[in-house]
Amino acid sequence: MEKRVLMKGNEAIAEAAIRAGCRYYFGYPITPQTEIMHYMAKRMVEVGGTVIQAESELAAINMVYGAAAAGARAMTSSSSPGISLKQEGFSYIAGAELPAVVANIVRAGPGLGGILPSQGDYFQATKGGGHGDYRNIVLAPASVQELYEMTIEAFNLADRYRMLALILGDGALGQMMEPVVFRDKEPIDLPKKPWAVTGTGGVRPHNTITSIYIKADVLEAFNRKLQAKYAEVSRREVRAECLNCEDADILMVAFGTCSRIGRGIIPIAAAQGVRVGLIRPITLWPFPSDVIARAAAQPSVKAVLTIELSCGQMVEDVRLAVDGMKPIAFLGRSGGNLPTQKEILQKIMKMVGR
C-alpha cells in the first residue's frame, strides 16, 4: 500500500509546490492559508529554495512576476482580501505571458468579511478581477489529496501555456487534515523558456518582458494571440467529474467543498426514490459548459440545482450552459456557513414536487 501521510490542506499545497520544483515562494500572512508559508519557511531550507515574507500581497505577486520572468517556477498564496490586492499582478502576468501559480484559500467576504470557508471569489477568479481581457486557469480541488495533485498540475499548466494557474480552495480545504499519497507523476514534456531574462550572455539579443503595447493595432494583435491561446486551453483542458448523472432526475452542480456535501446526497436521495446526479467542475475556467449541457439535455433531467458557498456566482455559468433547456435552482450559504445535507435534500424534494 502506498504510504499515506496525514496533512493539512495548506501543507499539501506547499509540499506539492516543492515537489513540482518550485523554489521561490513569496507571501504575506493571512488566515486561513498562512500554514502554506509556515511550511515553506521550513521546507525550502532543505531544498535550497527561497521564501520571502513580503511587505504586502502586492509586493509578493510582483516578486513572483520577477522570478517567473527570470525563468523560475514561483508561487504565492493568500486568502480573499489578499488576493484582491494581487489582482494588479494577475493582469500584468497575463499581459507579459508569464507562468505563475497562486493559491487562494477563500474566506467569506466582502470586505474583511470573516475567516471561515467560502466560494465567494468565483467571479473574481474566473471572470477577471484585474483589468483587461485576460483569463487565468482556475482549478478547484475538493480534498487534501487533490490540493496536492492540482498544485503540481497548476505548475505544468502554467508552464505549458505561459499563464497564471490559480488553485481555488476554501478555508475548509486549507485547514482540514486528510491522508495524502505523494504520487510522483510521470515527467512531462514542457516547453523551454528561451524568453526568460537570464542575462544575454553576450550570445543572443536582449530579451524583454513587458505588457505594454502603445499602438492600437499592435495591442489588438497581441490580444488576438492571447485569445487564441485561451481558446486552445478551453479546447484541451476542461476537467469535470460526473457522478450518477446518467438518467438523473435532478442534476446538482457543485465544486470544491460543496461537491463533497453533494456527493453525500446521492445515496440518501436514491433511498427516497430520486435519482440525483452530481457534476463537479474541476476547472472553473475553462468551465465545463458542454459537460453540463449534455447532462442537462437528457430527457430524464427535470431541473438543475447549483450549490455554492456564495450568494450565487457559478450559477450564472450553469445557466449559460443549460441555456434555458431546464429550470435552474440555486442553494447557497455564505458568511462561512455550509449547506447541510438536510437542506439540500429538502430543496431537491421540492424540485421533484414532493
Binding site: T31, Q175, M176, M177, E178, R260, R263
Partner: protein, 181 residues
C-alpha cells in the same frame, strides 16, 4: 463504518492534538479520515473544537452536523454541541469542568473527573487522554496499539518518554467505558 466525533473545550487543553491522534491512529488502520479544526483569530485561551470523521468510504462534508460522539471538556462546549449528537449517540464529559445537562435523555452519558484524575497524576494534559481512552474503548473506533503508535508519530521526540504514562491514562479512561470486560 462511518463515525463522526466532536472534541470540544478550551484552547490549551489539547483538543486539536487529541483529534489528530485519533485521525492518525485510524490512518494506520487503513481508514479514510478527515480532521477539521475550529480556527479563529485567537491563538490562546478561547474555545477550541475539532471534528474527526473516520470511515471505510470516501468522506463527504468535513463538517459534522450529526455526531456519533461528543467529548466535552467544559460547560459552554457541552451546551453548544450536545444538540448535534445523534439519538443513541454518546456524550463523554470531563465532570471536573462540566455538569451533565438534562435536555438529552436519548443519548448515552459518561462522566469522568478527567482533570482531577490527571492532576493526581501530576500532569493536567493527561485529562484529554483519559477521555480519549474512554471514547475509544466505548466505540471501538481504533485499536489501542494504533493509538499508541499515533502518539509516537505525532509527539515530538522530547516528549516520547511520557508516552507510557499517557497510555496508563488512556487505560484509566478505558475503565470508565460502560460494559467493559
Amino acid at each position: 463504518m462511518n463515525c463522526s466525533i466532536l472534541l470540544a473545550g478550551f484552547g490549551g487543553q489539547g483538543i486539536l492534538s487529541a483529534g489528530r491522534f485519533i485521525a492518525s491512529a485510524a490512518l494506520t488502520e487503513g481508514k479514510e479520515v478527515c480532521w477539521f479544526p475550529s480556527y479563529g483569530p485567537e491563538m490562546r485561551g478561547g474555545t477550541a473544537n475539532c471534528g474527526v470523521i473516520v470511515s471505510d468510504k470516501t468522506i463527504g462534508s468535513p463538517f459534522i452536523t450529526e455526531a456519533d460522539a461528543l467529548v466535552a471538556m467544559n460547560s459552554p462546549s457541552l451546551e453548544k454541541f450536545s444538540e448535534i449528537v445523534k439519538p443513541g449517540g454518546l456524550i463523554i464529559i470531563d465532570s471536573t469542568l462540566a455538569r451533565p445537562i438534562h435536555t438529552r435523555t436519548d443519548v448515552q452519558w459518561i462522566s469522568i473527573p478527567a482533570s482531577e484524575l490527571a492532576a493526581e497524576q501530576g500532569n493536567i494534559a493527561y485529562a484529554i487522554i483519559i477521555l480519549l481512552g474512554c471514547l475509544i474503548r466505548q466505540t471501538g473506533l481504533v485499536g489501542r496499539e494504533s493509538f499508541s503508535r499515533a502518539l509516537f508519530e505525532n509527539l515530538p521526540l522530547r516528549h516520547h518518554h511520557l508516552i507510557p504514562a499517557e497510555m496508563a491514562a488512556f487505560d484509566q479512561g478505558g475503565n470508565y467505558a460502560v460494559g467493559r470486560d
